[in-house]
Amino acid sequence: MATLTVDNITYTYAPGSPFEQHAIRQVSLETVPGELVGVIGHTGSGKSTLVQHLNGLLRPMEGRILLDGADIWAEPKKIRDVRFRVGMVFQYPEHQLFEDTIYKDIAFGPKNMGLDEAEIDRRVRAAAAYVGLDEALLEKSPFDLSGGEKRRAAIAGVMAMEPEILILDEPTAGLDPRGRETVLAMIEEYRRSRGTTVLLVTHSMEDVARVADRVLVMNGGRVAMLDTVEKVFSRAEELEEIGLSIPAVTKTLLLLRRQGIPVDTSVYTVEQAVQQLLPLLGGDGVC
């Protein structure tokens, strides 16, 4: 599996005009094959701009992006090949469905890769299975599906390219709790079975806590933190200063510690919190 290296990139919108705006500044990052990185930050923190660099949709003004050590912009004409290796699911991907059947829409990416019919068919069916779309749905029009199904079909369209690195920009935005759960679970399943590196852009700390190995916190176009989930959440005060809400469990423990109760605040799931609190209550069993 591939390694993606972001080497000190800077990108400015509308340079030289009165509207000039630094979107990201001196951002560096290196992915470990197979890991899931949660990219988190405020609106306007530069997280979406950053991920659009990773598959060559934006070209950095300074710095380089390396895929397995090779600069992706070495040959600008071949940038399409990079996009097949680094798959990107945009926000509200269901708004980009356009074919008359789900099958054809999922096949759009693989077709652009120039694969043969049999391979396209295999990939479409495999991707549909990953996202839990019934075979019967494949021949339906995208516009006849429910919101959640559309979202999953659209994600399948990128998964079918079988990228080595998969980037998802807010894949759970606008979904109900069950929909979120389904989407997160299928991303995890896809990663587990294929060993794909995943970058998950989100503003939900709960999502990050659930699935991420590492967290990249963006603030004002710069990398504020890049560390394991535990270490990032243990810096809860800093996160709050940036204006990011930490998981409710972590917040509770943080308040307890402020009152002088000795608890570890790097905790982010209910189970871990129980482990912390039970001894303090003097009991050792579940009440």
Partner: protein, 273 residues
């Protein structure tokens, strides 16, 4: 790539021109067109140029901006100049005679005269959009068209349609950009191939764009109905247009200019062929 298309040309400022009532500005712009076409001789034209120069100075707009609006019509200017030079004949000897082409001094004079006229026209009328926000402009249009109610033209609806269209242009641009990026991420090739191939490559962009425009339209209609929108009947405004003394002074100046130009025409006669 789409962000460099400018919509509406409003250039923020606080000059006298910016502060004029948009209804008056619209009326004065129409009057300005009359002013530009009135002069029949060089004295009149000179007066128009001076008058325009005065307005431009009042607007505090950068000259570069005006150049931007004149540039697209330069072709038209060149085209009419050539035609005038070829077709206007004079009494004396032609300056240049070659095959069927005869160019007279009168032809050149007319060409210059008309070129100046066109440039003045464009520069003067572009001032309106430079100094007025699109919303103020639609408000003004609604007001000025409202007498047409008698012939069943609903000025309010027309103005509302325009306002909504203007409001959604940037939104749809952004949407287009996003859809293009998303399809490019799936390997859509928008930059190469022949004409047919390029047209076909637009399908994955146009269909989602249409779908989302309809979705937005339904949502907007629903939101407007939820807020009991029922057209212009009995509707009041948050920002009411108000004429001040400066508006009437401006009108008086324009009328004076029109009268003066008519006077110059009578005094010096026509020098146009």
């Amino acid at each position: 790539m789409l962000s460099d298309i400018t919509i509406g040309q409003y250039f923020p400022g606080n000059s006298l021109l910016h502060r004029l009532d948009p209804r008056m500005k619209l009326t004065l712009t129409l009057l300005f067109i009359v002013v530009v076409f009135l002069p029949q001789n060089w004295f009149g034209l000179l007066a128009v140029v001076a008058f325009l120069g005065g307005i431009l100075a009042l607007s505090h707009l950068p000259v570069k901006l005006l150049w931007r609006s004149i540039k697209p019509v330069l072709f038209l200017v060149a085209f009419t100049s050539v035609l005038n030079m070829l077709y206007v004949s004079g009494e004396g000897e032609p300056l240049l005679a070659f095959w069927v082409i005869k160019i007279y001094p009168e032809g050149i004079a007319t060409a210059v005269f008309i070129s100046i006229r066109i440039v003045c026209l464009i520069a003067g009328s572009s001032l309106l959009t430079y100094t007025t926000t699109p919303t103020a402009l639609t408000d003004a249009m609604e007001y000025l068209l409202s007498p047409l109610k008698v012939v069943k033209v609903n000025a309010h609806e027309l103005a509302m349609m325009m306002t909504i269209a203007l409001r959604f242009i940037p939104t749809l641009m952004e949407e287009t950009d996003k859809i293009m990026s998303a399809q490019k991420a799936r390997g859509a090739d928008l930059e190469s191939g022949g004409l047919m191939q390029r047209v076909r490559a637009l399908i994955p962009i146009l269909i989602p764009l249409f779908v989302s425009s309809f979705r937005r339209a339904y949502e907007l209609a629903m939101a407007m109905e939820c807020r009991c929108y029922q057209g212009g009947e009995g509707r009041t405004r948050m920002k009411r247009l108000q004429t001040a003394r400066r508006d009437w002074v401006a009108l008086a100046v324009y009328v004076a200019v029109v009268v003066a130009l008519i006077g110059l025409n009578i005094l010096f006669g026509s020098s146009l062929k």
